[in-house]
């Protein structure tokens, strides 16, 4: 509507607006943030849909992510190749899910994937152990970690298969009303 930007075609911007929770201005602002990570790699003209992927090291060095213990998992979950190297689409998707407009189900789905380190659609004990170690910076002894993970599985596992499925996780989310505000990165 009168914007003289030449980065995206109006159809592309409309598609982004429909697929994420951002407005046009926010999408453009995020594009500039993406570009600032590697100005020589990212072109200023996306109308011909260039295939540009930024390596994980650049994504993980963003101020919003660089101190987050889960930054690698976040990048892996949202990247197309699963290795943390993100295109602009992945980048927008990531911050859209982590924005405050995203509904709880969507956030729960992605939080589950982030904590599922081995990508088997279940949070098993080894996933939980890795999570606990990341959350406490390896301060606990392996026995304590194991004990905590057993307690968590005992508490949350409803179908008794020894691991947490998405439904168990969603049920846990209901009991944690803070989840919506904590699973949120402001950009």
């Amino acid at each position: 509507m009168g914007n003289k930007q030449t980065i995206f075609t109006p159809e592309q911007l409309d598609a982004y607006q429909d697929c994420t929770f951002f407005t046009r201005k926010e999408i453009l602002r995020l594009f500039y943030r993406y570009r600032d990570l590697a100005p020589q790699l990212v072109p200023l003209d996306y109308t011909d849909k260039p295939d540009v992927t930024l390596p994980y090291e650049l994504i993980g060095s963003m101020p919003e992510l660089k101190d987050n213990p889960f930054r690698q998992r976040i990048a892996e979950v949202f990247s197309e190749d699963g290795g943390g190297n993100m295109t602009l689409d992945d980048f927008l998707d990531m911050f859209s899910v982590l924005s405050e407009m995203a509904p709880r189900d969507l956030k729960a789905y992605y939080a589950f994937k982030i904590y599922d380190f081995n990508n088997d659609d279940y949070i098993c004990k080894s996933d939980l152990e890795k999570t606990v170690n990341k959350l406490t910076r390896n301060e606990l002894t392996p026995e304590e970690v194991s004990l905590v993970c057993e307690k968590v599985i005992y508490e949350a596992d409803a179908d008794n298969d020894g691991k947490l499925s998405l439904e168990d996780f969603q049920r846990m989310i209901i009991r944690a009303p803070d989840f919506l505000s904590t699973f949120h990165i402001r950009i």
Partner: protein
């Protein structure tokens, strides 16, 4: 049985078969075979789907099922898809269903549904393009049948959506302090951030009030202003008396005339403008508060029993907002300590007390409650007698010397001192009581503070409405306005002082003199209660001093910056768990229930029962402020064009029967909703049991 897969596969498949049958989109779940169909592994309908969005229940099942099959890693998908030569690829079939469903929704619903899909952007774009193609196909097919009217409507709908989009972009400009909030959240986390967000929210109320007061009351008054003969000394800024009495700051200055400055222009009835502006502002505030509170309750369903779970503490509470390295390390350390404590104190909940210990605890609790309520009552009595003395000072004569002015400030200073120091006494009592959980202690302390503040505001309102209004002063509304102005100003000063002493000096003490204390933490509860108190005073004061929201706006902005600077310089991130969502909902509820509704009752009594002063203000000479409206209705009765207004007034607004029927209907609807919720709770319990039973049955069968 050769196609039997690992047990876990079935624990997901079979319950789905039993449970999801009511969804109309589950056409592919009818097979009861043991054929491996991992691509159709749906997730169960989540319980909160049942509660919040019944209309999208079916859809979200389809999308989630669709999604789990299509991993973000396409390499996995290829190995997993099973092909059946005798039917259409289930992937395509589901996608077709999905596109069909999306195409049949309205535009906003469709956009929301696409946004909510847990898919890659590429996939979402593809689906969106397919849906748009489908829609254009449909409209082309139906275009001959569409009448001009429908096309017109569709065109206007598109225009509205574009307008809404551009509005939302400009509302982005109004997002005050986005960067500041980000910095605060990054270092201190969501809990401290919630205070600043609350402050920003209250600021918007005051901004809105100031805007409408300014446009509808103050600007017209400038046209009909009488000259101000009083002199201005700087002291009036603090006392609000003297020069300010004859300005737009107070009720008394406003004219009761009908202003008509423009030749042949419509006259502007000041009485009606005053009462309607204030009335409509309060109605809008009521609606905003009600909807925010309802939305907050919906999102943060408070269920205290199930809150303290280890699992949710571990997996759902890591604060992604914190991006400061030191803060992250601190939080990790705290979490580690909490987990260690949780492991060692295994049976902390099961504490058996002997009979004497229990009696002792009950006696201590009773004594501390009596002490806190007694202090509150004593504070109220003190405030009451002080205010009666204050009134005697006023009625005696206008002393414009320094002593007289200073005497006017005694009441607000005493009130603020009481509000500042009695909470320390309460927290000391809380330490004595040794509660079982620290969360309980916080709740009790906040409750006692609320009782204190409510009683002080209550006694002041009683004093204003019963004593000042019936006194022999010339313009009692202006007196009340001046009192509130002074209270607001002194409260603001004490807020800044509290920040200085509570945080700055405490940091100096904690780092130099008494190092064991350490850096102070930001006391969220007390600060939010102070905000609610200040906002209550402002709301009471709107009727008597229309410029007060503007003053409060400026004071809130200054408080924001001062608190932010003090926080950054002096405080450390919170160590204990602060249940942000629960507390924010409680604070919103507190803002609505004792605060706003109390203000409404005070305003109601003022407008309907009290006699306005004879010599000043827009309602001089009337029997009550409301009489302006009833007289206007009487005038309207003479015009046939406005008979409908008169009808609405007589049959809807002043008729008790209408409100009685309305209350009965609302009660019935509330009861029905309550029963629906109870029914759904029972249903989820049953479903959960079914899941466990079926999975147990299956693992049992597998082993034999």
């Amino acid at each position: 049985m050769t196609s039997m897969r690992h047990g876990s596969e079935y624990s997901r498949d079979l319950p789905r078969v039993n449970v999801l049958s009511r969804s109309q989109y589950e056409n592919s779940t009818d097979n009861f075979s043991f054929e491996p169909e991992p691509e159709l592994a749906y997730s169960l309908p989540s319980t909160f789907h049942l509660l919040d969005r019944p209309y999208s229940h079916g859809f979200s099942n389809v999308s989630e099922g669709f999604i789990q099959r299509h991993n973000r890693r396409p390499s996995d998908e290829i190995s997993v898809t099973s092909s059946s030569p005798f039917e259409m690829d289930p992937v395509c079939r589901e996608e077709k269903d999905l596109v069909g469903n999306l195409a049949s929704m309205s535009t906003s619903e469709r956009i929301k549904a696409i946004q909510k899909m847990p898919e890659t952007m590429k996939k979402k774009r593809e689906i969106r393009n397919k849906v748009l193609k489908e829609i254009t196909k449909k409209t082309r097919h139906h275009s001959t049948r569409l009448s001009r009217c429908t096309q017109c409507l569709q065109g206007t709908a598109v225009l509205f959506r574009r307008f809404g989009n551009s509005l939302s972009e400009y509302s982005h400009l109004l997002q005050l302090w986005h960067k500041t909030l980000k910095i605060i959240g990054a270092k201190f986390g969501t809990s401290v951030l919630s205070y600043f967000i609350f402050l920003k929210w209250l600021l918007t109320f005051n901004m809105f009030s100031f805007l409408i007061n300014f446009s509808f009351i103050i600007i017209p008054q400038f046209f009909a202003a009488e000259p101000n003969n009083l002199s201005f000394t700087g002291l009036e800024l603090f006392t609000g008396a003297g020069y300010f009495q004859q300005t737009v700051l107070y009720y008394g200055f406003y004219t009761n005339a009908t202003i008509s400055k423009i030749e042949n222009g419509p006259p502007y009835n000041m009485q009606l403008a005053y009462i309607f502006t204030v009335g409509i502002y309060f109605v809008i505030c009521f609606l905003i508060l009600l909807f925010s509170m309802a939305k907050s309750f919906c999102r943060n369903f408070i269920n205290p029993q199930t809150y303290s779970g280890n699992a949710s503490k571990l997996l759902c509470t890591w604060d992604f907002n914190i991006t400061n390295e030191k803060a992250v390390k601190l939080k990790q350390k705290n979490l580690g300590t909490q987990i260690k404590e949780g492991l060692t104190e295994v049976n902390q909940e099961v504490l058996y007390f002997s009979v004497t210990e229990r009696v002792e605890r009950i006696v201590i609790h009773l004594v501390s409650w009596v002490a806190s309520l007694g202090t509150a009552v004593a504070a109220c009595a003190g405030v009451y007698f002080l205010s009666i003395n204050n009134l005697k000072l006023f009625v005696k004569g206008h002393k414009n010397d320094l002593e007289g002015q200073a005497a006017m400030l005694v009441l607000p200073v005493v009130v603020s001192l009481l509000n500042a120091f009695i909470p320390f006494f309460y927290s000391w009592l809380g330490h004595l009581e040794r509660f079982q959980t620290p969360g309980y202690q916080i709740y009790i302390a906040i409750t006692r503070n609320i009782i204190l503040k409510i009683s002080i505001v209550g006694i002041l309102c009683y004093y204003w409405l019963n004593i000042v209004a019936t006194s022999e002063s010339q313009c009692w509304e202006t007196l009340v306005g001046q009192d509130i102005y002074r209270l607001v100003l002194v409260d603001f000063a004490f807020c800044l002082l509290g920040s200085f002493f509570g945080e700055f000096l405490r940091r100096i003490i904690g780092t130099t003199v008494c190092v064991s204390l350490g850096l102070p933490e930001f006391d969220i509860g007390r600060n939010v209660l102070d905000l609610i108190y200040a906002q209550t005073l402002t709301w009471i004061g709107i009727l008597f001093s229309p410029l007060l929201p503007g003053i409060q706006m400026i004071s809130f902005s200054i408080v924001f910056y001062v608190k932010k600077v003090s926080l950054m310089m002096n405080c450390q991130p919170p160590r204990k768990v602060w249940r942000t969502a629960q507390m924010t909902t409680s604070f919103m509820f507190l803002l609505f229930f004792p605060s706003f509704l109390g203000v409404l009752s005070v305003i109601g009594v003022t407008v309907w029962r009290l006699k306005p002063s004879e010599g000043c203000g827009p309602f001089r000479g009337l029997s009550s402020m409301y009489a302006a409206v009833s007289e206007w209705i009487k005038i309207l009765e003479n015009y046939t064009a406005s008979k409908w207004v008169v009808w609405i007034y007589h049959n809807l607004i002043t008729s008790e029967l209408f409100f009685f029927i309305l209350s009965v209907i609302i009660l019935i609807i509330t009861y029905l909703y309550w029963q629906i919720i109870e029914g759904r709770k029972t249903m989820t319990k049953l479903l959960r049991k079914q899941i466990i039973n079926v999975s147990l049955t299956f693992s049992f069968i597998l082993f034999f």
